[in-house]
């Protein structure tokens, strides 16, 4: 309790100053504030360092990479080169894999948003037998690990000719994105004021028109969070792509994963490759921070 007594004593001494907080606390905040700031700056640098290391490695020639660490760049900044990126742009395998990734991610995101909105709207505003029961089933599926589905879906896709196809990967991602999508959107749609929907209905809008003109626009924020979360989830996925994607033209995660096997000799390919694969997620991250945060906060249970 010495701190408390000390604070009281100093408070008595410093009575002249209008003290809202005990002087000791304010003193600690003053002096400790500097140390705290230094500490936080160090932590931030520490957190940035691994990424910066890869970035700087991607800007060095294979010979430099073999001879010395990326931190030597600070000693001789002249050594920076964009040759690795130039060669990567000519690397058809990696560039093609980026297209494959986009061809998987965009449809998988759109499908989850559309199908999830339809079901979310039905659960929120339509009357049908067993509605709550069905919704509970969907909520129950929220935490099902994708691992459970790998073998059965591989067999199923094999039987219908979807194994190792882009369509198969899209369907898998859509299905596993749906429980969260339905859950989030149903809760959001349910808060749309009833009067709004009834007014539209009175104006003669049909169910589909109600959905596209009223519900979807009002659901904007939730749909944005969901869409961004699903987009990043699919873009960054490796496991499902590893199993279900066409090994002839794999998405970027799989293409780079194959390179990792020779780690050490090919950092000049891996480092810029990893960076190129990160560009889209990072743009999305910086452009849609708020939506991303709410999406990640809500969806990390997956």
């Amino acid at each position: 309790m010495t701190t408390v007594e000390g604070a009281a004593a100093e408070g008595a001494v410093g009575r002249a100053v209008p003290a809202k907080r005990p002087l000791a606390t304010r003193l600690a905040a003053r002096t400790g504030g500097g140390a705290l700031r230094v500490f936080l700056v160090l932590v931030a640098l520490f957190w940035l360092m691994p990424t910066v290391g890869l970035l700087l490695s991607s800007l060095r020639s294979p010979q430099q990479i073999a001879e010395s660490g990326w931190w030597q760049v600070f000693a001789r900044p002249a050594g920076i080169t964009f040759d690795n990126y130039g060669r990567l742009l000519e690397n058809e395998k990696v560039m093609g894999s980026l297209l494959t990734t986009a061809a998987i991610t965009v449809p998988a995101t759109v499908l989850v948003v559309v199908i999830g909105s339809l079901a979310g709207y039905a659960f929120a505003w339509m009357d049908f037998p067993g509605r709550d029961g069905w919704f509970m089933v969907v909520v129950g599926l929220l935490v099902v690990p994708v691992q459970v589905a790998l073998i059965p879906v591989a067999k199923l896709f094999g039987a219908v000719g979807l194994f190792e196809t882009t369509a198969g990967v899209i369907l898998f991602h859509t299905a596993f994105g749906l429980p969260f999508a339905v859950f989030l959107l149903r809760n959001f749609f349910a808060e749309i004021p009833r009067e709004l929907l009834e007014a539209a209905r009175l104006d003669g809008a049909g169910e589909l028109r109600l959905f596209t003109r009223v519900v979807m626009p009002l659901g904007g924020p939730a749909i944005a969070s969901l869409g961004i979360f699903q987009f990043l989830w699919v873009w960054n996925d490796m496991l499902i792509a590893l199993i279900f994607a066409d090994s002839g033209s794999p998405p970027v995660t799989v293409a780079l994963q194959q390179e990792v096997r020779q780690f050490g000799n090919n950092i000049d390919v891996l480092a810029p490759g990893a960076f190129v694969s990160m560009v889209v997620p990072l743009i999305v991250f910086f452009a849609f921070q708020r939506q991303f945060v709410s999406g990640v906060m809500a969806g990390a249970v997956k």
Binding site: V4, K20, R21, P22, T25, L36, L40, A44, L48, T51, G53, E67, G69, W71, L118, A119, Y121, W125, M126, F128, W134, L141, V143, V146, Q147, V148, L150, I151, P152, V153, A154, L156, F172, A175, F176, L178, V182, F183, N187, A190, E191, P193, E207, L210, P221, L239, T253, L256, Q257, V260, F275, S277, M278, P281, L282, S294, G295, V296, M297, A298
Partner: protein, 462 residues
């Protein structure tokens, strides 16, 4: 799922309508069915059916024909690779969420009153946006064994070398038949004891055979480039003297065990006199390779060249070796997910009533007390959500392990999701076993599923 609800609630703030519907004015049932159909078909075919199939398949052997009951589950717990995976998963589930949450809590509290706190949060949260593959490549480089490539070892080696002198002659060995024998751990000890009054090659000609002389070979050229020629140790009263030298003449011509020509001295070598297992005296060789031990202590002792003379240059820690690979990968996970914990906790912190904290401070509570007694208890629900979310996430950890662990330590880094992948699609395919692992993973998350459902039901009842 209270986090998901929190988000949903956040979105709908200020727009509370009447309770969600008993259906808007007469929807036809077939319309509802059409709206639901795509979702239910996909969920049924790709989520529900697989669960049923996995449970069923896990009861059959690798070929799928023989019914083995719970045999695959039994095999899970007797198979060495899977036992390693289970043990690692326990380490993962205990350590990774705890460390991430603790760091997240610290960061959230510390940045709360800093003006550029948002920038800090952005930096720590950024890794969440990138793929585990990219994070894996990033950390594969950080943990690289070579100190000139991996930053972790670069730092470690430079710290180590400031405190510990590197060995003078890594890899050096005694000349065969010189009387020095390996005595364990990389040290060498003379066969016979040294006697006071005796000295090394007192007669410069003729093979000495004296146990006080220490002829070595296999010294790296670079270690003796600037060395002086070895000198014959002169007898000194009350001392036992000898010489350590590189018993090898370049271009040939030298005689073994004799200091001849311009054979190089080995300076800086530690020589110990050992009696009955204890070191009674020690000396270091001079620039000309000679050393002197006090005869009163060293008489009758054997001479030992401790291993520290010959230790290979320090190459740092084998981060991705079998012993450290799991903690190292957990480190990379914490790097990715501490930001997640921080952001959720910061959101919870913003909801803590300011007045409560201020009141405690006015009452004279120190910052630590405020943190321990008020902030943490108020944040407890958020902390639980974060911990549980991370635990579920960690159970299924796959990418980071698959990418960061080099082939040689993949077995030591094994986790359930990786084993499942190997058992289902890898080299040693056993779908029965793979399905059993999948079902086991599902069983582990069932309690969370139950809690989710109960909470929803409660909210419905309100």
């Amino acid at each position: 799922m209270s986090d998901a609800e929190a988000v949903a609630r956040h979105h709908r703030a200020g727009r509370r309508g009447k309770r969600a519907g008993r259906g808007v004015t007469g929807t036809r049932r077939w319309v509802a069915a059409v709206f639901l159909l795509p979702a239910l078909v996909l969920l049924g075919a790709l989520v529900v059916y697989p669960i049923v199939f996995s449970v069923y398949r896990s009861l059959f052997d690798a070929s799928g024909d023989g019914f083995v009951g719970l045999g695959n589950y039994g095999a899970m717990f007797s198979d060495d690779a899977i036992r390693t995976a289970l043990r690692n998963n326990v380490i993962w589930v205990v350590v990774a969420p705890t460390v991430s949450t603790a760091l997240g809590l610290i960061f959230a509290v510390l940045t709360e009153r800093i003006r550029w706190g948002t920038a800090f949060k952005l930096v720590v949260f950024m890794p969440m946006a990138i793929s585990m593959l990219a994070a894996g490549i990033i950390f594969r480089l950080v943990y690289d064994q070579a100190p000139e490539r991996g930053v972790a070892n670069a730092v470690w080696v430079s710290v180590h070398d400031t405190f510990a002198e590197p060995a003078p002659f890594p890899g050096a060995k005694p000349r065969p038949n010189s009387g020095l024998r390996p005595s364990g751990g990389g040290a060498f000890t003379t066969k016979s004891a040294v006697r006071a009054g005796a000295s090394g090659s007192s007669a410069s000609s003729g093979p000495s055979g004296s146990s006080a002389d220490l002829p070595l070979v296999a010294v790296r050229q670079s270690d003796v480039r600037d060395a002086k020629p070895a000198a014959v140790a002169q007898p000194q009263p009350g001392k036992i003297t000898g010489t350590a030298w590189l018993d090898f003449t370049r271009g040939g011509g030298g005689r073994p065990k004799v200091i001849d020509g311009n054979e190089k001295a080995l300076a800086g070598l530690t020589v110990e006199a050992v009696k009955g297992g204890a070191v009674v005296a020690s000396a270091t060789t001079a620039a000309d390779g000679t050393y002197a031990l006090p005869a009163d202590k060293a008489d009758g002792a054997r001479l030992r060249l401790p291993a520290a003379n010959f230790a290979e240059a320090y190459h740092g820690v084998d981060w991705l070796g079998p012993a450290l690979v799991t903690p190292a990968i957990i480190g990379s996970y914490v790097w990715m997910w501490a930001g997640f914990a921080m952001v959720l906790i910061a959101a919870g912190l913003a909801a803590v009533p300011r007045e409560l904290l201020e009141a405690a401070r006015v009452d004279g509570a120190g910052e630590w007390q405020v943190f321990r007694r008020i902030t943490v208890p108020l944040l407890a629900p958020v902390l639980v959500v974060v911990l549980v979310t991370l635990m579920i996430n960690v159970l299924k950890i796959f990418d980071l392990v698959y990418i960061i662990a080099p082939g040689s330590s993949l077995r030591s880094a094994n986790v359930l999701a990786l084993q499942l992948f190997q058992s289902s699609f890898g080299t040693d395919v056993d779908e029965g076993l793979g399905s059993a692992i999948a079902v086991f993973l599902l069983l582990l998350v069932l309690p969370v599923m139950y809690v989710n459902l109960r909470r929803i039901r409660k909210e419905r009842a309100r």
